[in-house]
């Protein structure tokens, strides 16, 4: 395969192997012998995109069809982009190195709001009109999915259709329909109309929005007779029988996560009130340990990876965790394959397990108390008590760990100064806990790093109506925490406030926000999630020039009866449940997790999962 980018250019850019493919298990097909060419577009750089589990799954899922060739497309890094523009080289796919503007579909996965300018930039680099309405029959169909697609509105004008839910369920039907339509000489328009038969497809142009004078939505109505009022997310019902690839793309260069990925379950029983993933992925659906052990064996065999990572929103909640962990250890410790366990709750079992798998590499342990006081943890329904945190740390310290990372959020609803000081106090108690150990058991000084991110209210959470803190409030709060810290073993860091503000605007944006995104892209914004490339001033300029008031989206409290931009989408969790949760939050009442007691969120409607255990 000849590289799309000539050598003399590749030699001048950073990490040229980002663009040359040829990875282990890359799918090779003759593009002339397939009916459908699908570009799986990840709107970020190669190393990030290649670490994404959804890409690994859908790549093989789509390629298992003989009639379809799914190829990968990543955002070129700025150095190459500049050369591509200078030399008129359009955006190409990794596999065949061909121009993606000739593909049938381009599917973008939306994992974080800060990648939206990259979506536009990639379309533009490909030579495809950005606005859906300006695209013609010869342009590819642009589809978006992923967790950010649950509020599709900020990208509505650029996207032909949104797929809401898990890809394995409907893509076969969609591609079948496309093929039939194409063979029968049907147009793109006709295909989109036929897509209206599916519950989980949202086609923005079949809906009209009107606004009140104050900027709120006045009405949101279908303009096509087949367009449904509510678009319902779709989920895989049986995780043991659903397709899961037997192999993984194994990159030839270093990427962020480069290991066998085992997905234990989807969804989360916890219901932390700030966490969008905890609501939009409901209900919890698990794989059995048996299925996972089989998948692990195949994946290790076909990849040659030296590490297996267990992926889920909360690994300790996996009902067969011990069985799985012991099974994996038994199977793979002889083969020099190690285990990595993110999202673990610290208890005696998990520590013992970590002893076994990590041997002496006692790197650092991470806890996420999220809030500094029990009161505020109750508000956000983070069911982790101070006693549990301190007990976990004490266990870890006596086991030889000396570094602890703590994650907090600032700007949570109802937060007071006491809650902020609590961040420092809890962190310092952890330091003190270490010094309760006898001297001979303390090999070196303890290091505690507390970091706080700025709370961003997200759609489909009980806090979707809440005002995000302003820039100044966040800064003030970070200072309050910092001032409270006295111990030298404790370090405090806080995340970029500007980025969180922008994320807040887009996360709850409506269709009007598209103008600002478009303008920001025109002004040169891209890779906004990358600190060194984020151009806050340009974004502010874009808001000003397009007459979009960012504070209207980020810092305004909504009333329960306001039509929210994502109200036409259902993730299974009812709005009434979210309202109840918000009311309970204000009263500092906690909600039990799904295994303790059903709280009737609505996700039972899918007919499977933890709701029926």
């Amino acid at each position: 395969m000849k590289n799309r980018i000539p050598d003399e250019i590749l030699l001048q850019v950073e990490k040229p192997a980002r663009y040359t493919g040829n990875e282990i298990n890359m799918v090779v097909k003759d593009p002339n012998k397939v009916d459908i060419r699908f570009g799986f577009c990840f709107p970020d750089v190669y190393e990030v995109g290649m670490s994404h589990l959804g890409l690994q799954i859908l790549y093989y899922f789509l390629n298992r069809r003989e009639d379809t060739y799914c190829e990968r497309v990543f955002a070129p890094w700025t150095d190459l982009e500049q050369k591509m523009r200078e030399n008129n080289i359009p955006l190409f796919s990794i596999e065949t190195q061909q121009d993606i503007k000739d593909f049938d579909f381009l599917g973008f996965t939306l994992q974080y709001e800060m990648s939206y300018t990259n979506v536009l930039n990639m379309l533009d680099l490909a030579g495809i009109p950005l606005f859906s309405k300006y695209r013609t029959e010869k342009d590819p169909i642009i589809v978006c999915g992923g967790s950010c697609a649950y509020n599709p509105e900020p990208l509505a004008e650029f996207v032909d259709f949104f797929y809401l839910g898990e890809g394995e369920v409907l893509y076969d039907d969609i591609l079948e329909l496309y093929k039939q339509n194409k063979k029968a000489g049907g147009t793109k328009q006709q295909f989109l109309e036929k897509l209206l038969q599916f519950d989980s497809i949202y086609i923005p142009k079949y809906y009209d929005v009107t606004y009140k004078e104050n900027g709120e939505i006045a009405s949101f109505l279908p303009n096509h007779k087949n367009a449904r009022k509510i678009i319902q997310k779709t989920v895989v019902l049986d995780m043991d029988t659903v397709y899961y690839p037997e192999k993984q793309l194994v990159p030839l260069i270093d990427v962020v996560h480069d290991r066998v990925t085992l997905e234990l379950f989807r969804g989360c029983i916890r219901g932390c009130r700030f966490c969008q993933a905890g609501f939009v992925y409901r209900p919890v659906r698990e794989k059995t340990a048996q299925t996972l052990l089989k998948q692990a064996e195949q994946l290790v065999k076909n990849s040659g990876h030296e590490e297996i990572s267990l992926i889920s929103l909360s690994t300790s909640d996996f009902t067969c965790f011990e069985e799985l962990a012991n099974g994996l250890l038994e199977e793979f410790s002889k083969e020099e394959v190690s285990l990595s366990l993110p999202s673990l709750r610290i208890d005696a079992f998990s520590l013992e397990l970590m002893e076994k798998i990590q041997e002496v590499r006692k790197s650092s342990l991470t806890f996420a108390p999220e809030a500094g006081t029990q009161r505020l943890r109750n508000v956000i329904n983070k069911n982790l008590t101070e006693e549990e945190i301190l007990r976990g740390c004490a266990l870890a310290f006596s086991g030889g760990w000396t570094r602890v990372k703590l994650y907090f959020m600032i700007g949570l609803p109802t937060e007071t100064e006491q809650d902020l000081k609590g961040i420092a106090e809890l962190s310092e108690k952890i330091v003190e806990k270490y010094y309760e150990l006898p001297k001979e058991k303390r090999p070196r000084p303890v290091q505690v790093v507390a970091s706080s991110s700025c709370f961003v209210p997200k759609p489909f959470t009980p806090f979707q109506w809440d005002a995000q803190n302003t820039f100044d409030e966040f800064l003030q709060k970070a200072k309050t925490v910092k001032k409270q810290i006295t111990k030298k073993q404790l370090k405090y860091q806080y995340h970029d406030v500007k980025l969180s503000f922008l994320e807040g605007v887009i996360a709850r944006g409506d269709r009007k926000v598209a103008k600002a995104i478009y303008r920001a892209w025109q002004l040169g914004c891209k890779f906004d999630g990358w600190n060194d490339l984020f151009q806050y001033d340009k974004w502010i300029q874009a808001f000003e020039e397009t007459g979009i008031d960012p504070a209207f989206y980020a810092n305004r409290e909504r009333s329960y009866d306001e039509i929210l931009p994502w109200d036409h989408i259902s993730v299974g969790v009812s709005k009434q449940f979210l309202i109840n949760e918000r009311e309970k939050a204000i009263k500092e009442e906690v909600t039990p997790n799904c295994r303790q007691e059903c709280s009737h969120c609505g996700a039972k409607c899918f007919g499977r999962g933890v709701c029926y255990e």
């Binding site: 030699l11 040359t20 260069i253 290790v300 020099e336 590499r361």
Partner: protein, 271 residues
């Protein structure tokens, strides 16, 4: 790092007889070292040295070869690779020494790896080292290259000037070191330089000093030749291809890294 371990094994094999019957010693398992010669083709020429190492680690795992691991808390495969290739350069003469915990047919190592290596990386030869030998990296003394020159250099120009260029007693170039640049004479490190152009391409053969003692890359030679001819040297338009890595042995002269150090068959059943 990997290399040190490897040399350690050699030292152990060739001298100090440790009395393992004494308390506190466990006899280390015998390891078998295979010197593997492989290509780095167009498809992988932008994969760097460390990434090539990881690529082989994973290929060895997929091929289920009985590779030996280091001892300790963080065991790693005992592999070592010779002379890193500049990013963008292709090669048909790369070498690695792979330690196996079992004695297997050298051809088995080659064939099983070739079933699973990515395009562009192909094992050409595999030798079980039976002679006293230095590690692949430590034994290098020279490297052979073909340089594909850009259109500015014609066959005639090349033919006319190459001998004159080589007839110079000294050829000075700026060599970058870690902290600064210094003027170095590279003439003594050019063992040979020939015009091997054919109908289609302008090609120069180079035989240069390489290894830990003296090392010369092809680029400064060609750059200096262009300057000698008064031609503009455009760095990114040159193509380099490594043909082989060579070592010098007392009484034998120049040998390729995999020559005369071991056997290609141990007479096992494997073909």
């Amino acid at each position: 790092m990997v290399q040190n371990v490897l040399e350690g094994v050699f030292v152990m094999n060739e001298q100090k007889q440790i009395d393992y019957s004494q308390k506190g010693y466990t006899k280390p398992k015998e390891h078998f070292i295979y010197r593997v010669k492989f290509t780095k083709g167009e498809e992988v020429k932008f994969i760097g040295h460390l990434d090539i190492m990881r690529l082989f680690q994973r290929a060895i795992k997929r091929a289920k070869l009985p590779v030996a691991y280091s001892q300790g808390f963080n065991p790693h495969q005992l592999l070592s690779f010779a002379n890193p290739l500049t990013l963008g350069t292709t090669s048909e003469g790369e070498y690695g020494d792979f330690e196996m915990a079992e004695k297997i047919e050298p051809a088995f190592v080659m064939n099983e790896l070739n079933k699973t290596l990515p395009k562009g990386v192909k094992v050409l030869d595999s030798v079980l080292i039976t002679q006293k030998a230095q590690s692949a990296m430590a034994s290098i003394d020279g490297a052979k290259y073909i340089v594909y020159a850009d259109k500015k250099l014609t066959k005639e120009l090349l033919e006319k000037n190459i001998n004159e260029f080589l007839a110079q007693k000294e050829i000075f170039v700026m060599k970058k070191t870690k902290n600064n640049e210094k003027i170095t004479d590279i003439r003594k490190d050019i063992f040979d330089m020939k015009n091997i152009s054919d109908e289609r391409e302008i090609k120069i053969y180079l035989y240069l000093a390489a290894g830990s003692r003296r090392n010369l890359k092809p680029e400064p030679v060609i750059k200096s030749f262009y300057e000698y001819l008064g031609l503009e040297f455009e760095k990114y338009y040159m193509k380099y291809h490594r043909l082989d890595l060579m070592r010098k042995e007392e009484g034998k002269g120049w040998l390729a890294l995999g020559e005369e150090i071991g056997v290609r068959s141990i007479g096992g059943k494997y073909e």
